[in-house]
């Protein structure tokens, strides 16, 4: 046992959908500042595992602890307030609003301004600065006034990451951030994630199919297959693991 409390601890989490067991007794510890990748074949239960962590639905059994505190009973919005930011496998943004408005709503919500009838000049400036900051991070400053729904797929995914960052999360969960991206876009998003991890010290859990991205970025890798945790270790250990080779890496991707 390490002496520090892990950022995220999941113990024995399961999720059943009727007779289907999507996640089966998975435990995981993610330390502060770590970048953890979760890999596994389609239908392995990766997204479902994210949904358990973020409170999208309750686990059938098991516990979720954030900073050592059991959050099983905390609803999704409450977990966000406690520092969980998340992006989705299928981009979830506000399509008919501009990039800046998307960022602004996220920033204002993160700052706890969302019930305010108006903002004074200081607060307005604070919001505007924070919007500029996340748009710069996501490389979207020049597209600030475009409708997000009209941007390229890659830019939309970056916009979603920007919104999650606007909340200044202490734990960032990214579900296949490079899905459907071309090489250039993948390279950009990978760069962003690395900067967030190395420079800004974010704790990140990342679901990812692209092995180049995973082995390039991750401190540790967890492998899910058929709802179970198959293996966990450093990229070198996972690369050398026979079970993983058979279950996943060996397969044509």
């Amino acid at each position: 046992m390490s002496t520090t409390t892990p950022k995220l601890e999941v113990t024995n989490a399961s999720k059943h959908f009727g007779s289907l067991v999507a996640v089966s007794g998975v435990s995981m510890r993610v330390e502060s500042g770590e970048l953890r990748a979760i890999i596994g074949p389609n239908g392995a239960g990766k997204t479902t595992f994210f949904n358990l962590i973020t409170g999208f639905f309750p686990p059938t059994s098991g516990d979720i602890l954030l900073d050592g505190q059991n959050i099983n009973k905390v609803p999704a919005a409450g977990r966000v307030k406690m520092g969980m930011g998340r992006t989705f496998q299928i981009t979830e943004i506000f399509p008919e609003l501009s990039v800046r408005e998307n960022a602004r709503i996220a920033v204002e919500t993160g700052l706890g301004y969302s019930l305010r009838p108006w903002l004074n000049a200081t607060d307005k400036k604070r919001v505007a600065d924070a919007c500029d900051e996340v748009m710069t991070l996501a490389n979207l400053t020049v597209k600030a006034d475009r409708l997000v729904g009209e941007l390229s797929h890659g830019d939309q995914r970056s916009a979603e990451i920007a919104m999650a960052l606007a909340l200044k999360p202490s734990l960032l969960l990214l579900d296949e951030p490079t899905a459907g991206m071309g090489d250039e876009e993948t390279y950009q998003v990978t760069g962003l994630i690395r900067r967030l991890h190395r420079d800004s010290k974010y704790t990140i859990v990342l679901i990812e199919h692209d092995m180049r991205v995973v082995f390039h970025l991750a401190d540790r890798i967890s492998v899910l297959a058929e709802g179970k945790l198959l293996a966990e270790g450093t990229p070198q250990e996972i690369g050398a693991n026979e079970h993983v080779q058979n279950a996943y890496l060996g397969k044509a991707e």
């Binding site: 979830e92 609003l97 709503i105 996220a106 919500t109 019930l115 305010r116 108006w118 979603e160």
Partner: protein, 328 residues
Amino acid sequence: MSVTTPSAAAPPSAPVRPWLQLAIIWALLLTVPLWLPLLGGYTAIAARVIIFALAAMSLNLLLGFTGVLSFGHAAYFGLGAYGAGLFLKYVTASTPLAMVAGTLLAGISGTLFGRLLVRRRGVYFAMVTIAFGQVCYYIAYKWNDFTGGYDGLRGFARAPLDFGLFKIDITGSGTLFYYFVIAVFGLAVGLQALILRSPFGRTMLAIRENERRARFLGLPVERHIWLAFSISCFFTGFAGSLYALLNNFADPSTLNYVMSGNLVMITVMGGMRTFWGPLLGAVLFVMLQDYVSSMTTNWMFFVGITFVLVVLVFPRGLMGVLQKRLGA
């Protein structure tokens, strides 16, 4: 690349010159008594347009800006009307206080009822809102002694505005009452515009655009829908109280689902995603109601046809089309 400051209320096809649109609308509204008679209209009909427009703009806070389907807003319009009428009849002859009474009755009912609604979505939300409207309708309809039942509530009249030093007599059906309606309309929609531009207003748009994203930004979505619903009910009740003042009469049909449907039609025809759309929708609706009903008793049929045509030809409503044409 043009650098415009996006506003919360800006629709997708934001007009290039919002101030111009505003200037035209207010210039037309303020000069109604000058030009409407030339077209064969009378000022009371313009007051009816304004009141329906206010009710529909209030409903549009939900339909167009929060993305929540309330198909029972006649309840709050009617409660506003009955509240004002009952106050004038049984309490005291004060126009402003009657409006406060109607607004509070509708707004508080909406707030209490909204609490039961917030977990429902889509069609289920819509059905529960209709059901509540019908409950209010039957109460007004059956409770003869107090509400006048089937015949409606009579025996009250709007009182002159008393400012202490001077009085303004709005009891006539002419220009003064119209300007009174325009003044309170301006206050109400000004407040609505401020709400839409506030951080809270932006969360309404967020919920409309993507409820899941809103929730995973940490927004307590249910609470925000509840608040938006309450606000909308207060404004709709305010419009209802004006309607009772206009007619010196409160009619159970103001509570009926037909009225709810009319408000939805006005909003959709005018353009749900635009702030002023319902005003245009109300102009069209009242024109149809007034002119067609003088020719045939089946005027609702023509309203229905018009509605279908507008929706098919201009899915974004009349205002949506205008803005696109003029803004491009």
